[in-house]
């Protein structure tokens, strides 16, 4: 069996306790590809434990986050989703289904039934970037000669020594970005909030702007405006288990067939999910077939998938356009 290296498990009952434990147990030195983790947080474990089995991380300590019953709470202008909420619970939650259907849809499309009952929304937001050359065993990566993201100096995807293009592969993140979600973080100096849009950067080996040791405690999603419609489309080979090969989230507020706001975010293409810019032009008037085609072209142009995950990049790029067109047609038709 593929085994995990030795570590000790510590159980934290509050965010504060977890952060204190993390620092007390030696935290981490360095960041990104150079980080040496003495302690790491463990939530659902569905991303971290396979990565540990692959020896991508070899922490001495795991801090198991066992905070009291995580909840989904209506906070007025926001819905607060505690980081420990399981993905299946998120997908099934009546408030989410009623208020944020594309988020329920995305959470329900993560991996398979068991993983959705183990993995948390916090873990999904902070999912490590993925690459065919990275998510492999120690012996495989040794045979490869390692890669830029871990222990090596060369990116085998782009063929260069500088840029790591491992893909942000979360299903929920494109939707949360489209919805302008915010994150609540706990660190040694207390709590802070961060816009999700400021979390990711285009660097596969250090794609999160968090300070090491900061703990994500909740995702806060602004309640959508009246007339809200949204969709999440996931491209995958199988109807279950698989990570996205490409994902498209489309959200907005509509009046009949006219959008008053529109957000499109493309995921699973590179280290940073891609919010598509330049959509304002089509707001405030009925969205015509020509408009849909123009947006489709815009999305196609903006999408530059990398070969870091499976699926031919050119094909995945073409699919970004196809999915966008389909989503817009469906959303426009929803007015009827």
């Amino acid at each position: 069996m593929l085994r995990m290296p030795e570590f000790r498990v510590h159980r934290a009952r509050s965010a504060q306790e977890a952060v204190e434990l993390w620092h007390g147990l030696g935290g981490a030195e360095g960041r990104g590809k150079d980080a040496v983790w003495s302690a790491m947080y463990l939530a659902g474990g569905t991303d971290l434990l396979p990565n540990i089995k692959h020896r991508l991380f070899t922490p001495k300590h795991l801090i198991s986050l066992e905070l009291p019953q995580p909840q989904i709470v209506d906070e007025g202008d926001f819905l607060r989703i505690d980081a420990g909420v399981k993905l299946q619970a998120l997908a099934d939650h009546p408030l989410i289904q009623a208020t944020l259907p594309p988020l329920a849809s995305a959470a329900g499309k993560v991996a398979g039934p068991q993983i959705r009952r183990m993995g948390t929304i916090g873990g999904n937001v902070l999912l490590d970037t993925r690459c065919l050359f990275y998510n492999q065993t120690e012996s495989w990566r040794q045979a490869l000669g390692y890669c830029l993201k871990k222990e090596g100096t060369w990116c085998h995807v782009v063929g260069g020594p500088k840029t790591c293009v491992a893909a942000q592969s979360s299903d929920c993140v494109p939707v949360l970005l489209a919805l302008n979600a915010r994150l609540r973080l706990t660190g040694p100096s207390g709590e802070r909030e961060l816009s999700l849009r400021e979390l990711y950067r285009y660097n596969g080996f250090d794609h999160l702007t968090l300070t090491p040791g900061e703990l994500l405690t909740a995702v806060r999603v602004p309640k959508p405006a009246p007339g809200f419609r949204g969709l999440y489309h996931k491209l995958r080979t199988r109807g279950s288990i698989d990570f996205p090969e490409l994902s498209v989230a489309v959200t907005g507020a509509w009046e009949g067939d006219a959008p008053s706001s529109l957000e499109i975010v493309i995921g699973a293409i590179n280290p940073q999910p891609k919010p598509v810019k330049g959509l304002d032009e089509w707001l405030g008037r009925p969205l015509t077939d020509e408009g849909i085609e123009a947006i489709t072209t815009l999305v196609h142009k903006a999408t530059r998938p990398q070969g870091s995950i499976i699926g031919d990049p050119d094909w995945r790029r073409a699919m970004a356009g196809v999915f966008t067109r389909r989503a817009l047609l469906e959303l426009r038709a929803a007015s009827a």
Binding site: L2, G45, L49, P113, Q114, L132, Q142, R238, W315
Partner: protein
Amino acid sequence: MKTLLPLRVNGETHELAVHQHWSLLEALRYELGLTGSKQGCDKGDCGACTVLRDGEPVLACCTLAATCEGSEITTIEGVADKDGPHPIQRAFDVCGALQCGFCQPGMILSAKALLDRCPQPTDEQLREALGGNLCRCTGYTKIFEAVRLAAKGLDRQSPVRYGEPAEGFLVLGARGRKADSISKATGEAIYTDDITLPRMAHGKILRSPHAHARIRAIRTERAEALPGVYAVLVGSELPTPYCVIPWTPDETALAIDKVRYVGDAVAAVAAVDEDTAIKALALIEVDYEVLPAAVEPEDALKEGAPLIHETDWKGRPRQDNVCKEVALDFGDVDANLAASAAVVSGEWFYEGSNHAAIEPHCALATFNPDGQLTIWSATQVPHYLHRELSRVLGLPTSKIRVIQPVLGGAFGGKSEPFDLEFCSAALSRKANRPVKILYTREEVFYSHRGRHPMLMKMTLGADADGTLKAVDSDVLIDGGAYHSFGMVTTYYAGQLLTGPVDMASYRFKSKRVYTNKPCCGPKRGHGSVQPRFAFECGLDELAEKLHLDPIQIRRKNALQSGQRTVNGQLVPSTGLNACLDAVEQSSGWKERHGKLPYGRGLGVACSMYISGTAYPIYPNEMPQSAVQVKADRSGRLTILCGASDIGQGSDGMLAYILAEETGILPDDIVVVSSDTDLTPVDLGAYSSRVTFMCGTAAQEAGRKLRQKLIGGVAGAWKLPEERIGVALGFLYDKDEPGRQITSKEAIWLAEAAYGPLGEVGAYRTRKLGGDYRGGSIGASPAYSTTAHVAEVSVDPETGQVKVEKVWAAHDCGRALNPQLVEGQIEGSVYMGLAEAIMEAHTFREGGLHLGPNLLDYRIPTSVETPDILTHIIETIDPGGPYGAKEAGEGPLHPIIPAIANAIFDAVGVRLRRIPFTPARVLAAIGQAEAARLASK
């Protein structure tokens, strides 16, 4: 360091000492002995380890035991209660939903969680809920059936039903349970990795990081010095080369001078636990001289290509990387092609694929103080393993006992000896303690022996009425680093194409080439699935050119029962036309083919496959299969047979046949199989030979025993033997049917008359095949035939192909147990369609596998597996037991070309390369569109 953990499992609290870095799966299996939770993929990709945590299905392999305090864990062992198995477990048994059974504990727990939260699931909810549990045997069809039955409600107390037997039979033809399915459904079945022996050490194998390299030196001192290491083994200690085919040995247990692929075995370690063994591997220093590699067969054939093997198996220097070459021709192909009204010529490529049985290979070896080796191994050929262990270890076969425990799927992937079997035995000898080696999923992909990639140039010619005049085939076979069954593969790539569609002339060349990749071997439909794809696609194109219906062109050329193929194989029975009729009707072919809207299509294809082969791998005059039966005074029969039940149900098949002959109830028959100390030799579960050959042997033994039971009763009743009839559970006077005696009492009478009751039966291979060199390879005593229609939808914007439904008709001769036959057909369809649309065993330029795990190597889940409707066609074969033929491999072949042909019907493009990925389909649609525009 271990710490004490209070863990609630199946309603009891256990004080467990566990390592903090242990998964829940390790704690359950290795500390609590709850081995019903299985390990299949190492890391959360397969679902075999599914348990319930507070009622929710979770993956035990990705859950830390140390975080489970306070949770209520339910494993498969906790699903049954004092009243017996849970209704879901019974439903799986009743419906034949268990084949190898390895994925089923996890599957049953996912199903239970579903029914607990949603007692009447829709079809979609059902498929979705099982989507995280991969099954490789069943095609999910009977699993869905079982969960639906459980949802409907199943009386827990009612006896397991048997259907009605075929007319004139006591048992055969009835839908019956499998002998071992309830033990699999309850997690009690013991697979190799479930066995633990006192003082057992754990072995690990060090593997090459290079595709091709010379080994200059191996230094093991540091590994040997590590505390907890018992023994380290290198190749020079086991220098005798081996191969499943005894005269082509080109492989050693561990590499000695050279490594030939990334993953080739170099050294092995036995240590107190796996963690220590892994640490020890890292301390072994191997000095490699990296050599240029030939990864693709085209490269391996180039002038000046690096020689992967410098000498052949006789020690003679090699000039090239050709492993085996065959060229045969029958009739005047050139003249017939020249005279054909239509000719189709093309190049098809068939990608390699792995068997991906959910159980990884595992072996456990131990020596007793007298030097007697016992090895439990997940093998489907105990007899060949027995022979090769003897050769490599230098031990007489009388000093070796091979036992095959319950096997978690094989499909050809466990049909030859592997490094772990030799290494566990040699390490056990060296360390003087039992040694177990369990492959990681990655090692399964390296050991491989999967489907050969084949590049096929094929030309077909026909008369205007569709009569097939000529087939010309040239096949380049990518063999990987070693021989395996290579010479058989090379023959099969040509010899098995000549039915069920007849052809006036045929020529083939096939060439198997060594490459620096994991070795290919036999996968379900060994050697013949690939050319069948090219041929059946070519036939479809011929029909198109000649404006013939694709079913009609096949019917037109159907071989007839008793006819010889163009290459001289006698086909005693063939049911092609009945198969075609069945799928034509049930698929609505006439009304729908060619008439569906753009994006939707139907395709047909057919095939023929062997029921065992005349060729016994090593030449000998002994029977290919033998059965011993004993009857005892309790009224029970015990059958001893070397046959390997790999999930297909051969143990049950033996029991049904003995029940049929003797009238003793199947539930009173014990089958002891695949243990070389206890059972007479059967050559193993390959070439679809088991039902035909073991079944015949069992029939013979059963008839002898039946005669003694009759004789015993006739003697006691002072009646002529002709007057004694045999029924299920009793014997009777035919003239006075009210006069009966139980089977048990009949055994007493027979034992009194004849002494202890024991009988034997055997199957001997007749001389078969064409009268030319190689004419016996691919010659079989009987052939099955199959026809499939596939319905696909193709999304012309994405290129995604969805197989909507499959109608599968298979002529297996007499269906001894139709439920098991259906299971084989459904599983074959599933495995073939997976190759058609998804699977690809592929490599980077340097020979590194692209993703040796069950996340990157995708096999279909319950969500995208279509409904499969099976038709069993029974063309009684004159040679088979009760007229039975094979069902396990033939039905895989046609699905791939049927899907290709359906894609053509849907969107008008011909795909000549598998898998039909959306990108390829979309590109083909784009090219067709561009060509259409250009021609305007």
